[in-house]
């Protein structure tokens, strides 16, 4: 049984963490916490960290004792510098809390790359965890919509770099820009994205701690995550009817099935494909053919098969990337955003000369 730590930083991280907790309940609805218990495969401890109390209050499925509010703060205003300082000032509280949770085999830190708290806390938290513990720490990073604003874009750029430099054992990317195809209003779109990421995380944790027909374990996951450029994504497909497992594998690897859009056959470095379902649906030949096709393109592919009676085929693929054109696009946009912000700041300083114009009427009164 694996001991897994999941930390959600900032609003985005909190919500995905809450979605994980929600889906761990049997009913997966808003009342399920009252009549069911969370069913994680191993021992899973979830911790939500935030500087905004209201964000923590919005959580529904994460126990209150697992929510850490940095006192006297109402967010950091998307300012990573403030966030970093806050973390330094309060890291003992956070780390002591994690310490009290016990020993872990693996940790996932979920965050948005664009916000204030999550994007600034996550690199420093990972660094602290790596310095204090020897279990692998993986970051699950959500990239912003490209049109969300320059501050978020530049935060994402610097945060992603900081996370990568923090000693993280790997970064699993999830791209809101790509996932906005889910449609609906903003709230439902965010909820859909969060549920999608949570479903994949739970599937992954289940897979790493299950007895499989063909085994993949945490070691395999580490190996996969250590490949490529340290950037990974997750593909997933869950059929709602009897579809060939070959189709399910192909869909999980298609851009529509990935959290971060990429051409896995071109840009992936290592992969782990986990297939779950009733054995009647799982054709070994089809599985082998598809896995071989992937391994033929990218190299080594770990594969695991979990037999679940009566379950339609479900496929989860973890893929590390050697390169990512989409990320390069993001950074090029981010650079533009940084320039825009710098220009904006310069303009603001220039506009301060308006005060000189106001000073000309000092000591005068209006005459009527």
């Amino acid at each position: 049984m694996l001991n897994i730590l999941i930390v959600g930083n900032g609003q985005c991280g909190n919500r995905i963490l809450d979605a994980v907790n929600k889906q761990a309940f049997a009913g997966k609805n808003k009342f399920s916490k009252f009549y069911s218990q969370q069913k994680f495969k191993g021992r899973v401890e979830t911790i939500a960290v935030n500087t905004a109390k209201n964000d923590l209050k919005e959580l529904k499925y994460t126990k209150a004792k697992d929510r850490i509010h940095i006192p006297h703060l109402h967010g950091v205003g998307a300012n990573r510098n403030v966030g970093k300082q806050v973390f330094l000032d309060n890291k003992d509280i956070i780390m002591r809390y994690i310490e009290e949770k016990g020993n872990f085999d693996v940790a996932f830190v979920i965050t948005s790359a664009s916000g204030g708290t999550g994007s600034s806390f996550t690199p420093m938290l990972i660094k602290e965890l790596k310095e204090r513990y020897d279990f692998p720490v993986y970051a699950i990073v959500v990239l912003p919509f490209r049109e969300e604003g320059t501050l978020y874009l530049q935060n994402a750029a610097f945060s992603l770099r900081d996370i990568r430099e923090s000693g993280s054992d790997g970064i699993i990317l999830s791209d809101n820009q790509f996932l906005k195809q889910l449609g609906g209003n903003v709230q439902s779109a965010y909820d859909g994205i969060n549920d999608m990421i949570a479903e994949r995380i739970l599937f992954l944790m289940d897979a790493l701690d299950s007895e499989m027909m063909m085994v993949t374990d945490l070691g395999d996951f580490k190996t996969v995550m250590s490949g490529g450029a340290g950037i990974a994504t997750i593909g997933f497909y869950k059929s709602s009817k009897d579809v060939p497992v070959k189709t399910a594998i192909q869909k999980s690897l298609s851009p529509a099935g990935l959290l971060f859009s990429t051409d896995v056959y071109e840009e992936a470095s290592r992969a782990m494909v986990i297939i779950k379902g009733d054995k009647s649906y799982l054709s070994i030949d089809d599985i082998s053919n598809e896995v071989e096709k992937l391994s033929g393109a990218i190299g080594h592919v770990f594969k695991g098969i979990i037999i679940r009676n009566g379950v339609y085929p479900q496929v989860l693929a973890v893929l590390t990337l050697e390169s990512t054109s989409e990320l390069e696009k993001l950074y090029s946009i981010a650079v533009e955003a940084i320039h825009q912000e710098r220009d904006k700041k310069t303009r603001v300083e220039t506009e301060k000369e308006i005060e000189k114009a106001f000073s000309q009427i000092n000591g005068l009164e209006p005459q009527y």
């Binding site: 923590l56 994460t62 004792k65 509010h69």
Partner: protein, 421 residues
């Protein structure tokens, strides 16, 4: 020692004997012994003995005896002779003792009477000029008539009573005293005429004595009591009292139609079948179907113990734990309704009773008439309530779900607290 008591009895008996002896009619009693001048007379009661002529030389005299002026005897007697004649119930004797001459001759006579009660002599003496100048006494006869103006009247009506007296005798009635006793069953309303304490009635005189008004107070046939009168004549002779007639008066009761107050009371309920713990509304209907107003109207609502009084109209007051309605008066043809709500507590069949009492005056009797009555509703069936079956279940039937709910509630609260930040 002499027995005084015996002496007293003896003296009394002796006196009585003497009295009887004096009044004995058989004894001859001297009336007059003296002289009477010729032409004069001597009157004893209504008898006058005239000395008509005196013949001194012949020692004779002529005597004429008149009774009430009517000559009864005319005779001449000599000296020492006597004549006797009837005198009322007795006998009178006249003896000529002597005669004398003078301007007018005089005869000395001795008059006695026998077999006569001397007490009945009311007058005696010399009458100058003889019988023609004597005064004779008569017998007044009073006839008293008592008349009423109506002989048939109703209770409360009045009659006029007139009492008159006529003297049909031959002498004036003097010292007449009338006695008119009070009449039972009548009250004296007024007096128009009443006599003086004593009066007199001449011969033939008709005199109205009483005129008064009597008011009948009760029904019946009544004979008016007679009016009596005592009287005497000019010679102060007393006569037996005169008595009037006694008219009859019939007094009847006028049948005045009596008024009544008849309050009709009924009570109905909005439902004759009610579930336990449910409420029913009862309405008391009142109507005065009589022609007299009722007063002191009380309605007492007898609520069975198996019901609980919940509320009612403002007029309903709880007095001593009993709902009651009071009205000072309730006029003819007046109608009213009072509603109240009860809660059924126990299964069963019940009725609601409204007890009514009131008074009224029938315009005839002085006292108020008192009436008590009551109305009873149809049977009211109190049946099992919607949840009565639950109440009849064993305790654990309730306890277990309550415990389960409590546990679930506690669990939900625990979870709520667990997830509330």
């Amino acid at each position: 020692m002499v027995d005084l008591k015996k002496i007293s009895v003896f003296v009394f008996l002796a006196a009585l004997f003497l009295m009887l002896l004096v009044g004995n009619a058989s004894a001859r009693v001297s009336i007059f012994n003296g002289t009477i001048t010729e032409g004069d007379g001597y009157q004893i009661n209504n008898y006058v003995i005239d000395v008509s002529s005196v013949f001194v030389e012949a020692n004779t005299a002529v005597f004429k005896v008149y009774e009430g002026g009517e000559l009864k005897k005319d005779t001449m007697i000599e000296r020492n002779d006597s004549i006797a004649f009837d005198f009322e119930e007795g006998e009178m004797e006249l003896r000529l003792l002597s005669v004398y001459g003078g301007v007018l001759p005089v005869a000395k006579v001795f008059i006695t009477v026998s077999d006569y009660n001397i007490g009945n002599i009311y007058t005696s003496g010399i009458v100058d000029g003889g019988h023609e100048h004597a005064t004779y006494s008569g017998t007044p006869v009073l006839e008293i008539t008592k008349t009423v103006d109506k002989n048939n009247i109703l209770v409360g009506d009045s009659i006029k009573v007139t009492i008159a007296a006529v003297n049909t005798g031959n002498d004036e009635a003097k010292d007449v005293i009338f006695t008119n006793p009070m009449q039972e069953s009548f009250i004296l309303e007024d007096i128009f005429v009443e006599p003086a304490s004593t009066t007199s009635i001449d011969i033939g005189e008709l005199k109205t004595i009483y005129v008064y008004i009597l008011k009948a107070t009760e029904a019946g046939t009544f004979t008016l009591k007679p009016t009596t009168a005592t009287f005497s004549n000019n010679a102060d002779q007393n006569f037996p009292p005169a008595t009037s007639n006694t008219p009859k008066v019939t007094v009847e009761v006028l049948e005045i139609p009596k008024k009544t107050a008849v309050i009709e009371i009924s009570t109905d309920v909005d439902s004759v079948s009610v579930a336990r713990n449910d409420q029913i509304t009862a309405t008391v209907h009142l109507k005065n179907a009589g022609d007299a107003p009722a007063s002191f109207v009380w309605i007492e609502i007898a609520v069975p113990e198996e019901f609980e009084y919940i509320s009612g109209d403002d007029a309903i007051e709880i007095i001593g734990g009993v709902p009651k309605i009071y009205m000072d008066s309730f006029g003819p043809l007046q109608e009213k309704e009072f509603s109240y709500t009860l809660k059924a507590k126990t299964l069963g069949t019940y009725t609601l009773i409204s007890k009514l009492s009131y008074e009224y005056n029938n315009d005839v009797d002085f006292e108020n008439q008192k009436v008590s009555t009551e109305s009873v509703t149809n049977d009211i069936y109190v049946q099992k309530g919607k949840y009565d079956d639950l109440y009849e279940q064993p305790v654990y039937i309730f306890v277990l779900p309550i415990v389960a709910i409590a546990v679930i509630g506690a669990w939900i609260y625990h979870r709520y607290k667990q997830y509330r930040f």
